[in-house]
Structures are given as structure tokens and as C-alpha cells.
Subunit: 275 residues, 2 copies
DNA sequence: GCTTGAAGGTGGCATAGACCAATGTGGCCG
DNA sequence: CGGCCACATTGGTCTATGCCACCTTCAAGC
């Protein structure tokens, strides 16, 4: 019944440290004691024990399996870069990509999508939701929005088959030119967790992209959610003093201004890690 | 007393939908009813109500303030791109960056850091932890590891003052050349949450960087955690058919292979959003 | 009029207990 | 011997409740 509080250290924090000790002396895949056992041994309630486990699951150090138990996670995401044997090594690319169509509808743009595509909120857009897989396991959910006027006909078969941009160019005389893309971290909600087969509140990348054609008109707006435990972005930066062309106020991600103000990205690749 | 379960829909899911309705009809910064009021009105327990709120806080739609109440979040991260008035607009860069030294020690490399820097685990490295701020508010935590042999002397004053790479070149004849960097999503733990002033399990970007000099020797290993609610990476991609030089297996983040296989990043910038 | 402090409301943490759902196992029965 | 079902175990969800820390407010005191 006694509360902690003035103890200045959270109970679930103490529990988490204990669990980390359990994890250290075990190998990936090994089981740890059950929730009820642990909560009894540590003298805390099961909700408190679960709260501590929640954090370890979110950070990818433990996995839970309903009806079976809790196990040490197969691989820590913070150790993936270890496989690079040298600085210049560019990590291998991922496996075989495939996709599964989840939805294909013509809907009203609405306020948000309408603004982005610069069409009326009442204008029709083709909405495509598809699941991206690597070697058969879910990697990302894509939500595409294309002004319906650009693609009067678009069958699921065409989507599955080939390159969307090729299709646009060959069948609709739409030539994509460039895209502005933003990448930010997020966590998956209940629905996304189900589709991607990860726990709720798992880390993920939210990628938004607005593609425009050669005339500058928006062609597609894409909203994607990528699994954080299986996707990362690797880039190679040239930091030599030879190319000081960067604009003021612009700098590389991860390198705040003041450390240096020149250099350029020369290579960018992504890897879908097959654990 | 009755349980849901077989209803197939989670109670906190229903509560979440209700809360989203509350958020929609309000403006950023507006208050929503208290936890006790909501749990009574909705006929759920307060822990359940809190579980539903947790998800909305984690996705950046609500903010909690101890002793004051709950409020609609100032800006939804999924709407930040709205400020772009056209596809070619490159978002403005962030505000004034500063940094605060948290730790400066000479420690043993250890197995993990030693592997990355290609030195003995017993070799000494300079460990620097610093807090990066934009306009005075915390943005990121940086953990730098530099082989002690490269920097026989390094005072806190030198660190605060200037460019680390300039310092290396001018005082230690170390010329940085390139870096391999990886970006992946994560969530902050208790300690990071305290320093960055965000809730536990908030989304964040984990950026790892290994910098090498012109001779190919590792110079520094950096491990950074960036706040997800204030940091995003924006890049402009040229998708023209003119530059099909990409290597097999390499593709742009957010654009799985099969959509197209050519094009190149021509601009990359980051914005620290001042809310 | 200004300061101060007690009261009430808010979120934060933790407890104890109950029931449901999924899993694996072992004994029973054909 | 083989298949099937009941049971024990494990995680998943929810309720009801208590106390603490923090903030705002407002009235009493200087």
C-alpha cells in the first residue's frame, strides 16, 4: 500500500533495471519469468511490472507472446550498424520488395489532402492504400492520393504490375519531375500495429511526399509509415573542404551548424534489414 | 463491472475516437475536460481513460500539463508540411542553435565503441555528452566518442566555442573526410525524456555517425537522439529521367524500388520547427 | 494594496483484484 | 496407438481506489 514518490526513484524504473539485468545474462530468444512471477518476486503489482516491460518492448529489447511468455528480443536496433566493417562500407540493400493492395477508391479530397494537391476539397482523388513487404514480411503502409483527373482509369492489376510513374507517363502524358519529402519519427497506432505486425506505440518513420510534374502541378501526395525495427536510412557524407556551396541555414541532419558549414551528401541508400 | 473483450472493440479504442472528436472541434492550445470528468462521463475507469490519452500524447495530438490539465497539441506533426506553399519551396531552416556540455570525460572504449572506432576496448576515448538547443529549447542529445590519442588536450571552453572539425584540423592535424550515418526512429527513455523535456516513449530520431579522416581512420563516433516533435528531415528529390546512375539495390527512402529506379537527391536540408 | 498560504482541482504513480484470450500439455477415450 | 478435450499457465484488458506532486485561485493577514 505504501507509495513511492518522495523516494525520488520510480518503482517501474527500478523494475526496468532489474529486467535489464535479466536480459543481459540471456541470449536472444530466451524466455524470462512470467509477469505474475516477476511481480511477486519484486514485490510490485502486475500493472507496475507491465509498465516497466512496456518500455522495454517499445525500445525493442523484449518481445511478448500471448499465452507463451516474454522473451529477449532477437536483435537490438541500436546495434545494427555493427555489421559495417569499415567506414566506407555502404550497407547492403534490402531483400525482395513486394506490395499488397489494401484499398483502391475514388474519394473526395477533403480539406487536408485538397490543400496539399492544390485541388478543391470537393474534387475527386484516387486513394490507394497498400502494404509494402520485404521478403514477405510487412515493412510499410503507403497511402497514395492522386487527383482523379490525372488517372481516369486505374485498375488494381496495373498497380500491382508495374511502375506507377511509368504508367502515368505512358498512359496519361504525366511526366513526374521532382518531389519534396519530409521524414520524421512517430509511433504506430493500434490499426497500423495490426497491419505491420508490431506492438502498439512501436517506433516508426513517417514519410510524406508531394510529387509534382514538369509543369509544377502536384501529381501525388503520399503518406507512408515505415516499421522502425526493420527500416533505417543510411547516407554517406563527404565532409571535405572542397564544396562549400551549402546555403545559409541549411545543414545535414544529425550535424548541427557550428560543427561545420560545408560538405554535401554524395550517396544515399536505404536498407531493409532481414533479421 | 462488465468487461468488454468479446465486443471485439477495445474500450480504450472507443475512448480514443471520442477524444479525437473533442480535439477536432477545438483549436491548438485549447483545454479538454479533466481525466476524472472524462472517465465519469464515458463510464470507464481512469486508468483506461489514461491509456487512451497515452496514445494521443505519444502521437503528438494532446499534451498533458501536471496540475493544469490536458490540451490540444500546438501543432500536429502530420500537418507540418502544410506550410509549404508550393512543391519547390524549401522549408525555412531552424532558429539559433546552441549547446550545453553535459559531460566531458576520458573513458575506456569498451567493446562496442572500440569496434566502431577500430581501437582496443581498453584504449582511452574522450566521451562528450552535450545537449543541443534551438532558440533555447532542447532539441537533441549528442554522445561523441573520439580516440583520446587524436585529441591529447581538449578543454570544455574549446568545445563550447567553435567548430570541432576546425579544431581537429588546426590543432591536431586531423582532416575529416567523410562520414557514414544511419537514421532510424526510436522512442526516448526516462533519462532522455527528462533532459529533452518530452514525455517518456515520445518518438525520436536516433542518428549514428562514424566520421573518418582522409586516411580512412575513424575520427569520431556519434550517437544522437533528436526530439521527434520538433525535428524533421526535408529533402527535395529530382525524379527526371535524366540521371539513371543509381546502383542496384539502392533506392530513395520512402520510395520502394519498382516505382522507379532512377533520380537523385539534389537538395537536403533540415528544419528545427519553432512552434 | 500587496503578499502569503490554505484549499481544491489536476495529472502521476501505484495497488489489488477480476475476467478474457491464447497457448501448451497431459490425461482420457475411442 | 492416436486424436481430442479439459485444464493450467501466460499475457491482455479493465475496474475501483488511494495517495502524492503540482498548479491555480482566492481569501486572510500584513
Amino acid at each position: 500500500m505504501e507509495n513511492n514518490s518522495s523516494g525520488a526513484v520510480l518503482k517501474r524504473e527500478r523494475v526496468r533495471e532489474f529486467l535489464l539485468g535479466l536480459i543481459e545474462v540471456r541470449s536472444p530468444g530466451d524466455a524470462i519469468p512470467s509477469e505474475r512471477t516477476l511481480s511477486a518476486e519484486l514485490g510490485v503489482s502486475r500493472p507496475t511490472l507491465r509498465a516497466a516491460v512496456d518500455e522495454l518492448v517499445a525500445t525493442g529489447q523484449l518481445v511478448r507472446e500471448h499465452g507463451r511468455g516474454m522473451f529477449v528480443a532477437p536483435a537490438k536496433i541500436t546495434q545494427e550498424l555493427v555489421s559495417d566493417d569499415a567506414a566506407v562500407a555502404v550497407p547492403r540493400a534490402g531483400g525482395a520488395w513486394s506490395s499488397r493492395l489494401l484499398r483502391l477508391d475514388t474519394i473526395r479530397a477533403g480539406a487536408r489532402i485538397g490543400r496539399k494537391l492544390r485541388v478543391s476539397p470537393a474534387a475527386e482523388v484516387v486513394y490507394i492504400a497498400r502494404l509494402r513487404l520485404v521478403d514477405g514480411t510487412p515493412m510499410a503502409i503507403e497511402h497514395l492520393h492522386i487527383p482523379a483527373a490525372l488517372v481516369p482509369s486505374l485498375s488494381p492489376r496495373e498497380l500491382e504490375a508495374g511502375d506507377l510513374y511509368d504508367h502515368l507517363r505512358e498512359h496519361h502524358q504525366v511526366h513526374v519531375d521532382q518531389a519534396v519529402q519530409s521524414i520524421e519519427p512517430t509511433v504506430v497506432n493500434e490499426a497500423e500495429a495490426g497491419v505491420l505486425d508490431v506492438p502498439v506505440l512501436s517506433p516508426a518513420l513517417l514519410i510524406e511526399r508531394l510529387t509534382t510534374d514538369t509543369a509544377g502541378h502536384p501529381v501525388e501526395y503520399v503518406h507512408s509509415v515505415y516499421r522502425g525495427d526493420r527500416y533505417r536510412i543510411v547516407s554517406r557524407l563527404a565532409l571535405g573542404v572542397t564544396a562549400p556551396h551549402s546555403r545559409p541555414g541549411s545543414h545535414h541532419p544529425g550535424i548541427p551548424p557550428g560543427d561545420f558549414a560545408h560538405g554535401d551528401i554524395i550517396t544515399s541508400s536505404t536498407t531493409g534489414d532481414a533479421r
